[in-house]
Amino acid sequence: MNLSDVVQNFASGMSIGCTYGLIGLGVVFLWQSIERINFANISSAMLSAYLFYTFYSNLKLGFVFSFVFSIALLALYGLALRYLIYEPINRRGGARMEFIVATLMMCTLWLTLIIVIYGGLPKPFPPVFGSSVDLVEIWGIRLPKFYFYIFAVVILLMAFLQFLLGKTLVGKFFRATAQNATAAQLMGININFSRSLAFMLSTTIVGIAGILLAPVYFVSLDLGGGSIGVKGFASAVMGGLIDPYGTLLGGLVLGMLENFSTLFISSTYRDVISFCTLVTAILIKPSGIFNWAGDKDK
């Protein structure tokens, strides 16, 4: 137990936590817009990782094209989710429970589809971020290179989202719809478009998180499994399902807790700790521990 162990765990907790935060953002955007939770949220991560793998390793399209294509396909998937699942259930008078069950079944559907197409074994992630043994040495402390890529991508993405939602007219429409859909409609805002945007944002952001997580978990079924998904939910809950920055912070805290509990306690019950964090976060303050955006009008 020395300083370099602590720094290494700190860095890995930060970088993994960032991706948990991104997964949580997917939950937050959808909740703000339609007040539904997509339990197949994490499937987007798995799908994008597998799509990226196919484009990059099998079709050899190069990094930029593979990335753009897989994210574009995920945006389409978000739209499909809206028009094939959400809208039909709503039209037939289904409520939250039906949406939850439909998305849970979607989760199984994607898992089995991936097993049918790619088989159950994990695929090696193409070394676009450097391989996992590619280390960078700073002041005698060795850190894997892809941590820095994760930080870079997350910061870029947050800057982009800040610009999109804060500065553009589309973002204003989106935020107005999230605050009060009826009033936004009365002001002549096309809430239909905002909803589609929410679905697309939620799937693409989780998709990017999936590509970032792939060097850690490989391109495997773990990416679509429940445990990472629950961590995303946990970070979203810490942000009160409203505050994007709170969600990111929640993800960071969760990543840290997880890494340091592995260091100090044991790795067997690592998932138990994240579940306990989730439950305590819910029980202490259901409106979000890191929620500075305030309560939404219900």
Partner: protein, 331 residues
């Protein structure tokens, strides 16, 4: 017309009773037994979700507590089987009562997260506490039901499970039409209004969680003795999701929802196992489940009973007229 409805019901009962005697393949009876166990569990879930309006995505956790409870009580402590089953059910009931506490303040989504966490923690404990539960290797040598020297086969288990299912459905029916059931429906419709009429929402929620968790524990305990060994797979999160899917597909607001959903989703994957297409059956099962939810959000149960009403003429009893009046006033 009334006669033919009665005739159909009697025919159904007779068919249910003689089914194991005319069935030749033992595997089908085994499958039916699992379907009956699922029906018991999902009925509890329908009670919790459809009647009281509380979501639980951790039903497999209760199932596991019941199963491992009776298994440990009978194998490690050598207690008789009925004591083991009652013990497992009681353990599960206690877990359900504890889990009902968060439901006092939490709404739908948060409650589902808490119950998911509960189910996952139970699962992780089963996997990792190897000295106690056997871990992924499983727990063997759970005693079978027996009377004297006669050990129960699949057929005998069928009658036991059918009887227990009937008792639990009868119990559910009686509770639904008692003041407890009515208070649950009131809370489901509007909690604040119900509270202001003097209904204790806490009491109703504790009762609903207790009832559904003890049914799940009972089903788990029966499963342990029926299967003879336990491995962690039937208690994973996927199964909890499956149970909720059964409840929704069967119909959340309908008495028969648990039975129809449990039986349908237990048999569906087996029906789809065509030769040469084995890799696809799970895919098609989840696809069909999604289609059911998207196209028939209110579930199979109410639609089937509407269909029966169309064929045999509707029963004009009090509850149905009341239902129509309520439906009309809502619009």
């Amino acid at each position: 017309m009334k006669l033919s409805r009665k005739f159909i019901i009697i025919l159904g009962i007779v068919l249910l009773l003689i089914y194991p005697l005319i069935e030749t393949k033992d595997f089908r009876i085994f499958l039916t037994n699992r379907a009956l166990l699922h029906a018991i569990l999902v009925s509890g879930l329908v009670f919790l979700t459809g009647f009281a309006g509380q979501i639980s995505l951790g039903q497999a956790g209760f199932y596991a507590i019941g199963a491992y409870g009776t298994a440990l009580l009978t194998t490690r402590l050598g207690l008789p089987i009925p004591v083991g089953i009652i013990g497992g059910t009681l353990l599960s009931l206690v877990a359900g009562l504890i889990l009902s506490v968060p439901s006092f303040t939490l709404k739908a989504f948060f409650l589902s997260l808490v119950t998911i966490s509960f189910g996952q923690v139970v699962w992780i404990i089963i996997i990792n506490a190897i000295p106690l539960t056997g871990g992924p290797g499983g727990l063997f040598g759970i005693p079978q039901f027996h009377i004297g020297d006669y050990f129960f086969g699949n057929k005998a288990y069928y009658y036991v499970f059918l009887a227990i299912l009937c008792i639990s459905i009868l119990l559910m029916y009686r509770i639904k039409h008692s003041y407890i059931g009515r208070s649950m429906f009131a809370i489901n419709d509007d909690e604040i209004a119900a509270e202001s009429c003097g209904i204790s929402s806490k009491k109703a929620k504790v009762f609903a969680f207790g009832f559904s968790s003890s049914l799940a524990g009972l089903a788990g305990a029966l499963y342990a003795h029926f299967a003879g060994f336990l491995s962690p797979e039937p208690f994973a999160f996927g199964e909890s999701a499956n149970f909720v899917a059964m409840a929704v597909i069967g119909g959340l607001k309908h008495m028969s929802g648990g039975i129809i959903g449990g039986v349908t989703l237990t048999f569906l994957p087996e029906l789809l196992k065509f030769k040469g297409w084995e890799t696809y059956y799970l895919l098609v099962t989840s696809l069909i489940a999604i289609l059911f939810v998207v196209l028939l959000p209110e579930g199979l149960g109410p639609n089937l009973s509407k269909l029966l009403d169309k064929i045999f003429g509707s029963r004009k009893d009090m509850t149905q007229t009341l239902h129509h009046i309520r439906k009309g006033s809502n619009r």
